[in-house]
């Protein structure tokens, strides 16, 4: 282990300023974290959170300002320097080599295990066992990373960071890839670890911030706009500070305007990537003018259902009746022409062509339509006009419509996709995780767009892991479990607890439990 002068008990940032080309990424930021404390760092995408953390880790050098550890000023040049003073970071995208074991991944960073022609993997495994026992983070040192679930990999990252000697943990959006269950589990573990460590928790999910942190600092446009005790402030208040305006996520008021059945899925069987039956006789009905929420732990067939509905995955048996036609095993083109809109799960690679301009991405499905093509040539003027109109209408924030779509933030990419799908005037829309990893402002916009389309009579299938989102937007909620719909219930009858139990595949506890049932984080107690 690197010699630590004394365990880190206090980190202080003063007036950190960092100018990146064209923007002031950090504008005189001052923060402090002490041992035994969880500081939540909250802000929209692009507010400067990650830049600030990279400065702490020694990946970037600040233009001005100072960093003090235990009152002593430090200058880090590389992550190794930060680790030497007990500061470690868990990156949003895991820094684990998939074809190596847990122990090998740790051994990469522990230079004292590197001997001439000999690698001390036993020492690494020993270290992992010690740390995982001490912090109650069960991890098998001999497992290969690719064999582990995302939640387990997250645990490996935590153990690895602790093994490297970190006693101040920076967690950059640690829950963004986790299922709700894994999230609850992680938060519970972090709560237990917090007494011995200092934690900086970066997130824009305010319920997690509320559940975990002692203090909260809000960043906007590179500056700290708020510091306070978490307990004294409501999520809505924090959201308003984060975005700079009141945020009220719109709700489905449920006017009961449901019309004729639009999409009927019967006994649908579809195979997953590994050849297993991911959908095993799924039945589903979507009516005009309703939002049907599909709740479930990811990996229960959501991806396969979305693929099958969009024509991207062969259907083994069963039918997908849409507007009177069976669309099972039809080509995507036929399905698009039949009036099905699709907001895919992976917006970067399936939703857009990242290297294409925004305006070209906006006509990806209609490039051959009359209005955008003349004798097989693209009608540039019409395409430009279309892009300008949609940019205004959907509030796509970009330097110009010729910008590469891949350079936009997640929220704006999603707006491009939504603009394309909605402007085609579909009869139904399948939206898969439409707000995953997207900040509050964009989320608010996307939700209100979906609800507006619902009022126009479009049927929407909303696949999401965020129970809040499903409950806010849906008329009815279908719970998917192991490739089948376990139950469909009206949204008004749904509670977090009832859905949580159904999502775990357990029997529905009719009638719904009392309204004063324990709130969000306690759901994690159900595991282990």
């Amino acid at each position: 282990m690197t010699a630590v002068p004394e365990p880190i008990s206090d980190l202080q940032l003063e007036g950190i300023t960092k100018r990146c080309p064209g923007v002031l990424a950090c504008d005189g930021i001052s923060l402090q974290v002490r041992r035994g404390e969880v500081l939540a760092l909250v802000g929209e995408n692009g507010a400067g959170k990650t830049t600030l953390m990279n400065i702490i880790m020694g990946l970037y050098r600040p233009d001005s300002g100072s960093i003090r550890v235990n009152g002593e000023e430090v200058h880090f040049r590389a992550p190794g320097d930060a680790y030497a003073r007990g500061i470690g970071m868990v990156h949003q995208h895991f820094m684990l080599v998939p074809n190596m074991t847990v122990a090998e991944n740790l051994a990469l960073g522990l230079k004292n295990l590197h001997h001439f022609l000999r690698l001390d993997l036993k020492g690494a495994a020993q270290k992992i066992r010690e740390v995982s026992e001490r912090y109650e983070l069960p991890v098998n040192p001999d497992a290969y990373i690719w064999q582990l679930s995302v939640g387990e990999q997250q645990r490996v990252e935590l153990v690895k960071t602790l093994c490297l000697g970190a006693r101040l943990l920076i967690l950059d959006e640690p829950t963004s890839a986790l299922t709700p269950q894994e999230t609850d589990d992680l938060i519970e573990r972090l709560q237990r670890m917090a007494s011995e460590l200092a934690i900086i928790f970066i997130s824009h999910k305010l319920n997690e911030v509320k559940a975990l942190s002692d203090r909260v600092s809000i960043l906007r446009h590179g500056a700290v706009v708020f510091n306070g005790q978490t307990a004294n402030h409501e999520p809505a208040e924090l959201a308003a500070l984060m975005t700079g305006h009141e945020v009220t996520l719109p709700r489905n008021e449920g006017s009961g305007l449901q019309g004729e059945p639009l999409l009927t899925v019967k006994k649908l069987c579809v195979r997953g990537d590994r050849g297993n039956l991911a959908l095993d006789g799924l039945d589903l009905e979507l009516r005009e003018g309703e939002v049907l929420g599909l709740a479930g732990v990811s990996g229960n067939g959501q991806r396969e259902l979305a693929d099958a509905l969009a024509g991207l995955r062969p259907v083994e048996s069963g039918e997908i009746r849409f507007n009177g036609r069976d669309l099972a095993n039809r080509s995507p083109r036929e399905i698009i022409d039949a009036g099905m809109g699709y907001v895919p799960e992976d917006r970067q690679t399936e939703g857009i062509v990242p290297s294409f301009s925004i305006k070209d991405n906006l006509i990806l499905k209609d490039f051959a339509a009359k209005q955008f093509s003349r004798w097989s040539f693209l009608a540039r003027k019409a395409i430009d006009r279309n892009a300008e109109v949609l940019k205004e209408q959907f509030d796509i924030r970009c330097p110009g419509t010729s910008t590469a779509a891949g350079s936009l933030s997640g929220g704006n990419i999603q707006k491009v996709i939504l603009a394309r799908e909605i402007s085609r005037g579909p009869k139904a829309l399948v939206a898969v995780y439409p707000t995953r990893g997207i900040d509050m402002g964009a989320q608010e916009f996307i939700h209100s767009q979906l609800l507006e389309r619902r009022r126009e009579g479009i049927g929407i299938v909303l696949i999401s892991e965020e129970l809040e989102e499903v409950m806010n937007l849906s008329d009815r909620i279908a719970v998917i479990y192991k490739g089948r719909i376990l139950k469909v219930l009206p949204a008004v009858e749904a509670t977090r607890e009832r859905l949580g139990i159904l999502m775990a595949g357990l029997v529905d506890p009719d009638p719904p439990p009392a309204a004063d049932a324990p709130s969000i984080p306690a759901a994690g107690a159900a595991h282990e």
Partner: protein
């Protein structure tokens, strides 16, 4: 014709055939494990073959004559490492496309060795080369003795390189670094591993081994040099790495399969079997293509960042 004798002859011939592609492929494996595929392997082999021949040829009459062969091997490895360094500069530091740079390196090595040979030597000339060295005792074992223990010293070295490179990859800190930078360079970077430096080292080692493989061809197998001595073996070596799924043992299997097919087709001509020899010559190559096409694609354990330059500043 006795069946047993036939098999014996084919196997005895296959072992020396496999040496050059085996050594080159084990070297290429280090390159690919570090995330860089070097199509220039063939060109490096040409240079190695030329220098391996040139050194003993030019000191034939001088005081250094007894050390000619050793000098040849050393220079072949040195020039291989230098070519590896050049390739690293182009693909790692300047992040050029690896495929194009590799083809360029192949043409450079092939053309340069041929030109230098014509300039300094000219016609067909032989060298004494390195003689076979049957291992006393072991080479007397019936059947196995002839197949395994009656070869050139470099052949034994080549087969020892299989466990050696396995050990280097899986049991040493350097091997750990190589595997990490080839699969998830950013993770390696955050753990304090110098990605570029590790790739440079791997490319130089791979180059040196390709140079050695070339020198084997000129010094031990043909005992002469010509333009078409290497004859695309460098490309076979690259294919063998995929074939063996980045495992030294798998590469050994592939090298043996290819060289058995090679010696079988030669034997077929010797036995006078009525078969158009043009097709017989194709046999080993066709076999490699067929096996590559049918092999299960298991990239799970391979270097997933193969072919991609690493740039710390690039976002995801």
């Amino acid at each position: 014709m006795n069946m047993g004798v036939g098999i014996y002859n084919v196997l005895c011939l296959a072992v020396p055939f496999s040496v050059a592609i085996l050594v080159a492929a084990l070297g290429e494996n280090f390159n690919q494990r570090a995330g860089v595929f070097n199509l220039g392997c063939d060109g490096i082999m040409c240079m190695g073959a030329f220098l391996g021949f040139m050194l003993p040829y030019s000191v034939k009459t001088g005081a250094l004559a007894p050390y000619g062969n050793l000098l040849g091997l050393a220079c072949a490895m040195a020039v291989g490492a230098a070519f590896g360094l050049l390739f690293a500069l182009v693909t790692v530091t300047f992040r050029a496309s690896q495929g194009i740079a590799g083809i360029g390196l192949q043409m450079l090595g092939w053309g340069l060795s041929g030109t230098l040979f014509r300039h300094f030597v000219g016609g067909v000339t032989g060298v004494e080369g390195i003689a076979s060295m049957p291992i006393p005792g072991l080479s007397k074992i019936p059947f196995l003795g002839g197949v395994l223990f009656s070869h050139n010293p470099l052949a034994y070295v080549a087969f020892l390189l299989v466990p050696a490179s396995w050990f280097l990859l899986y049991k040493t800190p350097w091997g750990l670094k190589v595997r990490a930078v080839g699969t998830h360079p950013r993770a390696a970077d955050t753990m304090g591993i110098r990605v570029d430096r590790t790739r440079y080292q791997a490319l130089m080692l791979g180059g040196a081994m390709a140079g050695l493989a070339g020198a084997y061809l000129s010094l031990c197998q043909a005992k002469m040099f010509s333009d078409d001595l290497v004859a695309g073996r460098g490309f076979i070596a690259v294919a063998l790495v995929y074939f063996g799924r980045w495992s030294p043992l798998g590469i050994l299997g592939g090298a043996l399969l290819f060289s058995i097919a090679q010696s079988f087709q030669l034997s077929m001509q010797v036995w006078g079997i009525k078969f158009p020899y043009e097709f017989a010559v194709m046999l080993p190559y066709v076999l490699v293509i067929v096996v590559l096409a049918l092999a299960r694609k298991a990239r799970q354990l391979g270097p997933t960042d193969l072919g991609k330059p690493y740039n710390r500043e690039m976002r995801f």
